[in-house]
Amino acid sequence: MKKQIAIVEDEPALRENYAAALARHGYSIKTYGNRRTAMQAFKTRCPDLAIIDISLEDEAEGGFDLCRDLRALSAELPIIFLTARDSELDAVSGLRLGADDFLTKDVSLPHLAARVAALFRRIDALRRPDNAAEIVRRGALSIDGEKMQTTWDGVPVTLSLTEFWIVHALAKNPGHVKNRQQLMDAANVVLDDNTITSHIKRVRRKFQQVDAAFDAIQTVYGMGYRWVE
């Protein structure tokens, strides 16, 4: 059975483009122009994944509300924010509401498709028994590439998809400096330098919430970041 993806986007041209691209990847697509119609439909049938814009028609933050309501319906449902708003604050708010990823509209369709696929893979992996082969361990860190789960000293660290891929790229080759472009490629995003910086900052903070002494991601000025054990 085809996976069903809901796209909530008030810009019709964009909505149709996303729908067409994802449909080509074999998903069944439902599109909605505003929060009300989307929510009505979700109550009848919950999609397998939701892509939501933040500002919806007359509601500037309608996407946030929708995310909150959706999360209330289903705890596991993957939610991606796809928005023209690129402020740090929006990203933090969106992720805090339980979104799995926060993308700006700069993302290309193949990238978007890759993310969608990744999120579905994670869902599938979560339902399968552990596959030790996909697990990367670096000291206290262990990364499950299949389930896209990260733990530090056994404690799960909740990362967004982008953050997960950044950590994954760094930890795979400890000691190697990854510049920003490499990190962007790994995360399947096109971001500017500042956004990478704030992603790194957020990742560090998340690990520090688990272990205050966390210091494994090191800045190499002018070049990028590296993972140190």
Binding site: N17, E88, T104, D106, S108, D192, T219, Y221, G222
Partner: protein, 678 residues
């Protein structure tokens, strides 16, 4: 010219007050002069009238109206104040005039002067005769030749003749030839007529004293040389003879009763000869009490006196326009200059008419000093008052102008610094609460600044807004291209797609740059400050730049020990990125980009310098403004002038400053960032 100076000049126009005062004082003086003329003329007229009522007290011989003629031997008899000593000298006569020369046809020179006291007529005869011829014993005056002076007097008993001669100089008596009862002429001494014969190298001087009872209307004097034919004077038998013109005895004291202090009164006869005088132009009381110290501003207002005639001070007669006018019957007053120290005198003359005939004149002289004193008193007050007023006006004007220019200066300073170097606009101006024009100017500035601020605000947010608003349509284009690509395209179609994609890519980077400032501002707000080693950061960063810009040469100079600073290292790296990008853009191929870090007092001085074109002077202060880009780099990348703006934002976030300058030797430019230690 500053307002202060302008108002000061305006204030100086109040100097017209003292000038007007001067004009007024001049008019006052003119009025005073004319009133003094009138009053002195009236006094002269009164005295003349009084004197004409008692001509016998004024004129010696009121009936004699024949004019005085020195050529005919007429002689003015000077009134002598004291009895002179009979010694052959006339110095004790105290007469300031020289004797008059006697007429001569032979070149024999003699001079004569006459004076009188109450009882005697004095004669002084000075003869130029280098050889003394003594009088022989038993002289026969008709035939003997010796130096002699003949004297003939119109005595009460007819004409008497005498002669003076001596065998030895000294006190002598006059001699006369007396026809005895025997009919023989003999020489007899007349002891009542005494004389002193003083022999000198050039001649002799004879001072003779004759009782007034011997003296009549006429007098003949003749000097004869003892050898040769020298003679001078009037022979006793000549008809002409000299008339004697005496001053009138007692007239002085009579005049004294008419005049007041500071006035000189003189009575002259129709020949302008002095008959008597009293008083003095110098006031006795004033001369003592008033200092004659000149008051400086007299200099500005002295009436021009150079055209006034100079008073001629002959001891025996008076002259001048007013005297002449009075002696033809018209009272007249005139200002004259005294002969000493330029004093100004008023001279008023009134004729003395007796029975309709002119007999003489009264001449009054008065100093103008009294006028001056009056004028000076008035002027002093006027001057002082107007000067104080002027000074006050100048001071007030100056203070006011200073205050005014201070306010305007404050406004100007505020206007100049209203738009700060960081582009922030100061919206409030000083003086805007004032109700006057400066206040309204200030309010006008405020309105202007408010609008400017709105505009600047709009410009500042324009980039972010544009990038936000354009993002959605751009995404539509790109996602459409993505879709189109996955439809499976021919190669030629794919080529166009690729071009369209490149276009959207460029558009994307432009939008990204436009929004960069806003994003940096936001990320600065959220930055956390940590302690970090600036030196290590720079070493790492420069190493990275060497990789990133393989074509450029980098030189790095840092202190040897760690340089700890507090701030956001990511931002510092970003700052360095921008400066290095900028430096590499402008640095020529063979040039060097020099990065330097050093401690300067309480700051770190971070410099990025490059060889290459200089920054034009006009751009120097504006380089760090948002969206300001005048310099063209060597590549085709879009420049939105945000790089240096971001540098400034980051420097200011760290409490530092960013400055651009050309190198002293004009070989390139230096960007200097000062960051405080910790």
């Amino acid at each position: 010219m500053s307002i202060r100076l302008q108002l000061l000049m305006v204030a100086l126009t109040t100097l017209v007050l003292p000038w007007a005062g001067c004009q007024y004082a001049r008019e006052l003086e003119t009025a005073l002069r004319s009133s003094q003329e009138q009053s002195l003329l009236a006094s002269a007229g009164t005295i003349a009238n009084a004197l004409s009522a008692q001509p016998q007290r004024v004129f010696h011989d009121a009936g004699d109206t024949q004019a005085f003629s020195a050529g005919a031997g007429d002689l003015y008899v000077y009134p002598l104040v004291t009895q002179p000593l009979l010694d052959g000298y006339r110095e004790d006569w105290d007469v300031p005039a020289e004797p008059t020369a006697l007429p001569t046809t032979t070149g024999y020179r003699a001079r004569l002067q006459a004076g009188s006291t109450e009882g005697f007529l004095y004669l002084f005869i000075e003869v130029r005769d280098s050889h003394f011829d003594a009088e022989p014993n038993n002289v026969r005056p008709d035939t003997d030749r010796f130096d002699r002076v003949n004297l003939a007097l119109d005595g009460p008993n007819g004409r008497e003749t005498y002669f003076f001669g001596t065998d030895a100089p000294g006190l002598i008596a006059a001699q006369s030839v007396v026809r005895g009862e025997d009919g023989v002429d003999r020489v007899a001494a007349e002891p009542r007529i005494q004389a002193f014969w003083l022999q000198a190298a050039a001649g002799y001087q004879l001072e003779a004293r004759i009782p007034l009872s011997f003296v009549g209307r006429h007098l003949w004097v003749e000097a004869l040389d003892g050898r040769g034919k020298g003679r001078a004077g009037f022979a006793a038998d000549s008809a002409a003879g000299g008339r004697l013109f005496f001053a009138t005895a007692g007239l002085d004291s009579l005049l004294e009763t008419f005049i007041g202090d500071g006035t000189l009164a003189t009575v002259i006869d129709a020949n302008a000869l002095k008959l008597g005088s009293a008083g003095s132009v110098v006031s006795k009381t004033r001369a003592e009490t008033e200092s004659s110290e000149p008051i400086w501003y007299r200099y500005f207002l002295d009436v021009d006196t150079s055209e006034m005639p100079i008073l001629s001070m002959a001891p025996d007669h008076l002259s001048g326009e007013s005297v002449g006018s009075a002696l033809v019957g018209h009272p007249h007053a005139q200002w004259v200059r005294g002969d000493n120290r330029g004093e100004i005198l008023l001279m008023a003359a009134a004729p003395i008419m007796i029975d309709g005939h002119l007999h003489g004149a009264v001449v009054l002289q008065q100093a103008a000093d009294q006028l001056l004193a009056l004028r000076d008193r008035a002027l002093s007050r006027l001057f002082n008052l107007t000067l104080i007023a002027t000074a006050a006006a100048v001071i007030i004007m100056f203070t006011f102008a200073t205050w005014l220019s201070l306010r305007i200066g404050r406004l100007r300073d505020a206007a100049e610094s209203a738009v700060g170097s960081d582009g922030r606009i100061q919206l409030t101006m000083p003086e805007s609460a004032s109700a006057d024009e400066i206040g309204s100017l200030s309010r006008g500035f405020e309105r202007l600044l408010a609008r400017l601020n709105e505009h600047a605000q709009y410009l500042r947010t324009l980039g972010g807004k544009l990038s936000h608003e354009l993002r959605t349509p751009l995404t539509i284009v790109r996602s459409s291209l993505d879709n189109l690509e996955s439809e499976g395209l021919r190669d030629d179609q794919r080529r166009y797609i690729t071009r369209a994609r490149e276009g959207t890519q460029r558009l994307q980077s432009i939008l990204s740059a436009l929004g960069a400032a806003a994003r940096v501002e936001e990320s600065i707000k959220q930055s956390e400050r940590v302690n970090f080693d600036l030196r290590e950061l720079m070493i790492c960063a420069v190493a990275a730049y060497r990789d990133g810009f393989p074509a450029a040469h980098f030189a790095l100079q840092t202190p040897e020990d760690a340089c700890f600073a507090r701030g956001a290292p990511d931002l510092i790296v970003q700052l360095l990125d921008k400066l290095i990008e900028n430096a590499v853009d402008f640095c020529p191929k063979e040039g060097t980009v020099t990065v330097r870090l050093e401690r300067v007092q309480a700051s770190y001085c971070l410099q990025v310098a490059n060889d290459g074109p200089l920054i034009p002077e006009a751009l120097m202060g504006r380089l760090f403004e948002s969206l300001f880009e005048q310099r063209r780099g060597g590549d085709d990348k879009p420049h939105f002038g945000l790089g240096l703006y971001i540098v400034r934002l980051i420097a200011e976030f760290h409490g530092g400053t960013a400055v651009a300058a050309n190198r002293d030797d004009d070989s390139g430019v230096v960007f200097t960032i000062m960051l405080p230690l910790i």
